[in-house]
Amino acid sequence: MEQLLSWISVHQEILYIVILMIFVGIEVIGRVPSVLHTPLMSGANAIHGVVIIGAIIVMGKAASSNYLALILGFIAVIVGTLNVVGGFVVTDRMLEMFSKKKK
């Protein structure tokens, strides 16, 4: 209990950020019309591609003798990029459909 409280106290800023972000995430989505569900899912999918930053850090820190880290990191960078680039491009294509119809 005491440990937990002190942990909370030490990490209070991060906790605030996480909690507020959860509220933001929920509120921002709240009013989406159902036609936009799929593009929204796809856009959110692209955003979590931010995990690629972790892959870049892993890759960039890997010692040139550490083959495991190099290879896994390289794959991580590739798949992460796939997530980001593919995600944004496919979302854009979906939304192109909608805007084309609008005009």
Binding site: V18, I22, I29, V50, R93, F98
Partner: protein, 480 residues
């Protein structure tokens, strides 16, 4: 200085993610929202590559990094550009799986680093009261590993199911098996973190493989048509996995981006279920698809006899109507009949018939499926009416042509409280003078239930594959 600039860039990127997501949820701004988020992402990535420092040292291995990014960009762009409209959900699933894999790979490498501190360094760390820090670190690594792996494996299965290369597969007691599997994973993870045992590496890899296995078994039994919901759920998983990375590197943009997607994705999953009038548990346990036969049997009592209509009668009826509504459904997508459908519509319009489409929000197998499908065939946007509008119009409509739709016009949703789709708003096609239903047989649709509409006096059946029937219908009308 550089690090401070990087912090600022991360802050900007976090804000673009929020703003982007917000814009994405409004039709008019959606496309720009996607771009805003993409710009933020670019800033964050370039910033990391060029500005990141750890203990004063810059990142190295630029060749590998740029190589990886180049490969990913080319492959990702091509894949995303080439994919057919209707195959987009599976593409999203695949990309989502890549994100999960990325998170899992990061955990693998970081664990490897941690393991190689052993035994000397680790001992020192543990002695030095830093045990809690190591455990916290390990907790995050293991969490990222589990969630990332489940998301990766699950997404790949979902992708396979959607493109048809993987078939449904389930065995009796699978749900119990799944729960047990999850319990074992959690127990192993707790053991690993709390006791830091000597065979940590072995346990870690066991957790890894079991998580992959869990991802597979988690998605396997779920009906193919429920995949969009599952993908959305896995999407939010990957968000949480990315957030783990944020904790690991004390990196705010990963943290906020991940949490944002985790929260938004969870809500989106729930909203998607709601649009289909189902609960998330219902989707995950998949009772829907499984219970179909009994539901049919139960509804059997209401069944009478249906009447068929010939192609030429249909042709006459439609050409001399003044107002026709087309109700597209999943069958139209399966038959890839959108172009033929547009052709019919243009032909009728040229004969002075007023033709419109009535779009049910959950027709097809993904939200917006019909909009995307018809847009591909260049059907003008003004011709697509939403459910509420269409329902106001049916009473003055001469002919409603239902093309491969079933559940979305099933009156049981209004009249039969025992029906699994009870309560779902439907298209009130029966208000029109004539209803013509095109499908291949009398088989039920997605919900697996009988449709009384087919036996009503106003309804005539026009059997056959939607594309073939439409092409013949066009020919027939031209010959009139």
């Amino acid at each position: 200085m550089e690090l401070n600039l990087l912090t600022f860039l991360y802050l900007v990127a976090s804000v673009t993610f929020i703003v982007g997501l917000k814009m994405l949820s409004h039709p008019a701004s959606a496309r720009n929202g996607n771009r805003v988020a993409a710009i933020g992402m670019t800033l964050a990535i370039l910033g990391t590559i060029f500005l990141y420092e750890e203990e004063g040292a810059r990142l190295g291995n630029y060749g590998w990094i740029f190589g990886g990014i180049l490969i990913g960009t080319v492959v990702g762009t091509l894949a995303a550009k080439r994919v057919k409209m209707t195959a987009m959900p599976e593409m999203v699933s695949l990309f989502n799986g890549m994100g999960g894999a990325c998170a899992a790979l990061i955990s693998l490498v970081e664990f490897d680093h941690l393991a190689h501190l052993d035994p000397m360094m680790a001992g020192v760390l543990l002695m030095g009261g830093a045990a809690n820090a190591v455990k916290g670190f390990l907790l995050i690594i293991v969490l990222g590993l589990i969630i990332g792996s489940v998301s990766f494996a699950g997404s790949i299965i979902a992708w396979g199911k959607l493109n048809g290369s993987i078939k449904d597969f389930s065995f009796k007691g699978q749900h119990i098996f799944n729960i047990l599997l999850l319990a074992v994973i959690v127990a192993l993870a707790a053991y690993l973190i709390v006791f830091l045992p000597a065979n940590a590496v072995f346990i870690f890899y066991t957790i890894f493989f079991l998580s992959l296995l869990y991802g597979v078994f988690f998605v396997f039994p779920i009906g193919g048509a429920d995949m969009p919901v599952v993908i959305s759920l896995l999407n939010s998983f990957t968000g949480v996995a990315a957030a783990c990375g944020g904790f690991l590197y004390d990196n705010k943009v990963m943290l906020t981006g991940g949490i944002l997607v985790g929260a938004a994705g969870t809500l989106l999953t729930i909203l998607m279920c709601k649009a289909m009038n189902r609960s998330l548990t219902n989707v995950l346990i998949g009772s829907f698809g499984g219970g179909s036969s009994s539901a049919v049997a139960a509804a059997g009592g209401a069944v009478g006899s249906h009447k068929e209509i010939s192609l030429s009668d249909t042709a006459v009826l439609m050409s001399y109507a003044s107002k026709v509504y087309i109700v597209p459904g999943y069958g139209l997508a399966v038959a890839q009949a959108q172009h033929a459908c547009h052709e019919l519509e243009k032909l009728l319009e040229s004969k002075g018939v007023d033709v419109k489409y009535a779009i049910h929000p959950v027709a097809g197998r993904m939200p917006g499926h019909m909009n995307v499908l018809l847009a591909e065939a260049d059907v003008p946007y003004e011709k697509l009416l939403e459910m509420e509008q269409a329902n106001d119009e049916f009473s003055t409509t001469d002919v409603v042509l239902i093309l491969g739709a079933n559940d979305v016009v099933n009156p049981a949703a209004k009249s039969d409280p025992a029906s699994p789709i009870y309560g779902m708003p439907i298209l009130d096609v029966e208000l029109a003078k004539h209803v013509i239903v095109n499908k291949r047989s009398m088989k039920p649709g997605y919900a697996g239930i009988e449709n009384e509409l087919f036996f009503r006096p106003k309804t005539s059946m026009l059997f056959g594959d939607a594309k073939k029937v439409l092409q013949e219908l066009v020919a027939e009308i031209k010959n009139l």
